[in-house]
Symmetry: C2
Subunit: 132 residues, 2 copies
């Protein structure tokens, strides 16, 4: 167990690997959805839109977990437990465009809806385990 | 939202699709790991070994969530919230062999460790959402 992402697994953030993100519902039960992600050297960063279930959950309870599987080998993955250290709209539009470039090869995020407010969440890894 | 797996997504259980399973730690935070899975028509079934973190978590707190992504299209997935309705060692060895057949093409699960006790968990879906 470590609180940093091992160098030998950082390639996962260069690939189109999804983070399977768990957040906590108001009743204490978990919710899991796939999200795009990147890593800034300190935080795992994900992006969502204001008002979604996972947005509400992370604002209420910063405890999250995520698992990132190597798309080239499902038996190689990172499992991370951590907490949302920062939630911000600042830079969130640029960040979703950057993720769209990585995952879709598009210069701009094509799925924005009218009035949608993008939100950037920075996740501090507390316990990182790796497999494979 | 439904509490059954839509017919149109049951093909996911025929594929080598992993369930990204979230369980709840003693402190209320989530944990996520990939697991093999199948569906018996009522329950999503997963298999682990006695004494593992997720085994402890599911015995303490039956609230779980899982997400199953189509290996052929990451934008098509099922997200399920539910609860562990049954935990049993009965049939667990046969079940892990069946999963090894599905995921590895092997007649028997090749990774068993001496003294390992396999456990079968039957998850009742409470809320099922599908995407893609």
């Amino acid at each position: 167990m470590s609180n940093t992402i091992p160098e030998s697994y950082r390639d996962l953030f260069q690939k189109k690997a999804f983070a399977h993100l768990a957040t906590i519902m108001p009743d204490g039960s978990p919710q899991v959805t796939p999200v795009w992600c990147d890593y800034d050297g300190t935080y795992i960063r994900i992006n969502s839109a204001k008002g979604r279930v996972k947005d509400h959950n992370m604002r209420r309870n910063p405890q999250v977990a995520l698992e990132i599987m190597d798309p080239d080998n499902p038996y190689r993955y990172l499992a991370v437990r951590g907490r949302v250290a920062e939630i911000t709209e600042s830079g969130a539009d640029a960040h979703i465009d950057m993720l769209a470039k990585k995952y879709l090869g598009e210069e701009r995020y094509p799925y924005g809806r009218p009035g949608e407010v993008r939100v950037l969440y920075k996740i501090q890894p507390d316990r990182v385990s790796s497999m494979g």
